[in-house]
Amino acid sequence: MQEPQRHPASARQPAAHGGGLFGGRYPEVTWPAVLFGLFFGAVMNAAIAYSGLKIGFTIVGSAIAAVLGFGVLRGLLRRGSILEVNIAQTVASAVNTPNSGVIFTVPVLWLLGWSLGPGDLDFWLITLACVAGAILGGAFIVPLRKQMIEVERLRFPSAVGVAVILKSPGAGTAKSLVLVAGIVLAMLIYLPAGLPDLGGKGYGDVGWRLDVPVELGSGATANIDGREATVWRSGSGASRLPVELDRDRNGEPDLLMTKDRIDVGRWMGLPGEMQMVFAIAPFAIGAGFLSGKAGLLVLAGGILAFFVLNPLALRLGWMPPGLLAHEIPGAAFNAINRPLGIGLLLGGALMGVVASLPAIRAALGSIAKSGRSKLGSDELGMKTLVGAALAALLLLFIAADFVENQAFNPRCPITPAPVEVADGVANEGTAPGQVAPAEVTAAPQFAPIDRAVEPVQHGGYRVGFATEEARRVWAEQWSDIERDQFLAKQNAKPGFLSGLPSHLRALLIALIGAGWIWFAGIIIAQCTGMTDWSPISGMALLTVVLILALLGSGAVLGAVLIGAALCVAITCAADMMGDLKTGHLVGAQPRRQQIVELIATGLGPIITMAVLVVITKANMGTFGVPIGPGTDTTAPQAQALQAVILGVQGGEMPYALYGFGSLLGILLGLGSFPGLGVLVGLSMYLPFFYIATYGIGCVLQIVLSRFKGARWCEHWGVPFAAGLIVGEAVLALIFNALVLTGVGPS
């Protein structure tokens, strides 16, 4: 090996500033990059959390941060190497990413009647658990970098897109123009989809509707359901349209192109149970293009679920007879597709982990070996990672222990609050065992518990009270039967660990939670690596089911706490892996990225929790409810979680379907490649309209590869696809920020 050469000055001069916080002449981790990342990450976190609560999914933050990092660091500050901007986007995405984990889980507590605020201990316990989850997610996934990125060569489409953006200044004018063309096209396509949020016109205003048969004719306008609508007439008299043409019953034929999707299936006249709907989402086309062939398997899984299973379920009489054909996909999704899809995903992931064990062993051995080397390692050493994991585990235990040692019930069993009756006269609520007066129509509302009053242990639960007097009544006047009735009314059945002392239970929950986080982190990182989709909410649902099974169906707070920690952890794991993939492609040192990401990521959950407090307070003032239905922030994922919690409490969970799905996922992995079950399961569980659009991108890549060559696709297709991802993400963020700041209709 030769000594490095000194080179005279060249045409392209580097900016005259130091190498950064870790030394070296080539700037990588610098204060401007870190500060930009922290500031912009916080802004993205708030804006994307808000939109996620509205629409149920979040957008990619890394690509936006990369583009703006260039603008700010290179444009305004006249500094910033490729690696410096990479660090800026790494920090920004580390701060932003945990928001999805928080907003998919924590709002369920408001939906279930908890009140959370900075004055409540529960609020801080959940925040602590989320911070612990963020650190755990990163610390657990770092040792798998070599296995996933260097050995398995997972694609991580968005991460590749970010690398393309970062490298664009050196990639030549033509490639940069292709990237910009992708960005502009994505913005133009997405603009009409986002404008209605600001009160503007969008795709829905084009008015592309279903054809109405001539015999139905058309008629005059009339006031239907409080709005002006066209009343369509047949020859024999006035009638509205048949439900096949007017599913939303607004008196007009349905739109084929709504605000953000196109219903090609209805245009083609497919049966109602077959949904061929495409999301107007350029990012999905870009991600599909970057996924290529592997993504096509995702599309195949979606087709299997929505074009084979659902129609079969209808034909075989498996669906309730009262359902209309177009309601079948939704019903089948809940009853069959989702549990089987999640099962397939789990089985496929398990198979993937087992098949990768030799590679994982080699990767861990390499990290351990380089850690012992005098030259130092490119990776964070195992000792550091184990230390970080233990610290996070301790935080998780503290949070779980606090939750385990406080009352499980948000309302006092003894002291009822006044209940509104039908005629508006206040009446006393009913205590367990009492018969409610016939005229009481609202559910009984009990007073909130007082944390100063020591809870009482019963049936594996700690029962809290509003007053000392209420506690005395429970202890002295209530029989065991009445107490059991109270637990039953709270759907609080005992769990597998209910008989253990509370501290031991908390320790076991923290350990099991951490182990599950490790496994789920691998699943999510694999999914993101192969397809760019991450089934975060599915993992959260499973976690809550697991914890409820262990602690008992009434331990909602404990289950949500671990579920939130897991959700944050797995999003951070996937983000860490994506950032490391980008780093690999631009030549960043993994160790530096890992350190800044692990330090910055704990900030994310704190910001999102603060955003949640602001939103719920504003909602209470405007709508009278903190979050969910009846507000602008409907929190669809939290509603799904609420349904699962209520399903577990009611004994409605189809556990066998999860098991069968897992077995099929494992067997699928025995064939061509171990992760096949992950790809198929993913698409059965995600909304098909995004999968369909994503599939267009996959097909485009395959066709172009065939006719123009793989090299052409890499050179020109990849920057264009990256542009599609970035263009939509940037515009969506701008729209969200504008709505959040009060622009647009209230």
């Binding site: 050469q5 060249s10 260097e150 047949s234 006035a238 075989l316 498996w318 030549g587 025995l670």
Partner: protein, 252 residues
Amino acid sequence: MKVLGFLIVALALVAGLVGSGSAYLVRVERGPDVLLGLTSNENVLVPVPAAPAPANERGDTSTQVLLERGERIDAGHVEALARANVRHVRVEEFALARWEGKWLFALGVLGLGLGAFIVRYAARAALADAPDAETRTPSAILAEIRAGVERVRTRLQRPGAVDQDGLLSDLGIVVEDQLPAFPAGRDRMVARFGLGGYAALMDRFAAAERQLHRAWSATADGYLEEAAECVERGASLLVESQEELERLEGVR
């Protein structure tokens, strides 16, 4: 052969999923003996034609609830369900004996196993049958990459100012065209060296790859000394990769 394997896998997956889908369904015609005491897991609504003429023209129907979600099924329910020609009820309880699709599921499981075996067998046979001349060997690809890196080193060692654009172009050829060709032969290498051996090889190769990517970035940013150091490190790691490859191939 491989296509046949995939076809079997696809059909078996459909069979397995369809079989699973009926796990919680109970056929109403099996009567009270089977249905009584089970808990419904869905609202069973049956359409009741709405009488007024305009409503009929709309194609709308009213619905009548026969069974609510969470309700225990009693004799009255069974009778009403049978009268309304409801074919199945989805219940909360699972029982192997009641599961109508179990044989279809079992067929799916067997098919998946068989299909997987055929796919793997066909893949191995294809790898064994493919003559080396058809595809470049890992050694040949590695040699080509090393030659590309050598060109970059030569350019860096030339006296006088470095042609930055030329350097970037040469590095571009290495990182965009030559480097990806090596891991593209993954299946072949895994088949020959095992996943552990392949992982050990990729450990060195990926480190070299990252150094060369860093060299590209440093060159694009104008940090040529950094670029030169990275190229040297990358070249050294490629030598280590070559040594590891030879060890795995049994040359050493």
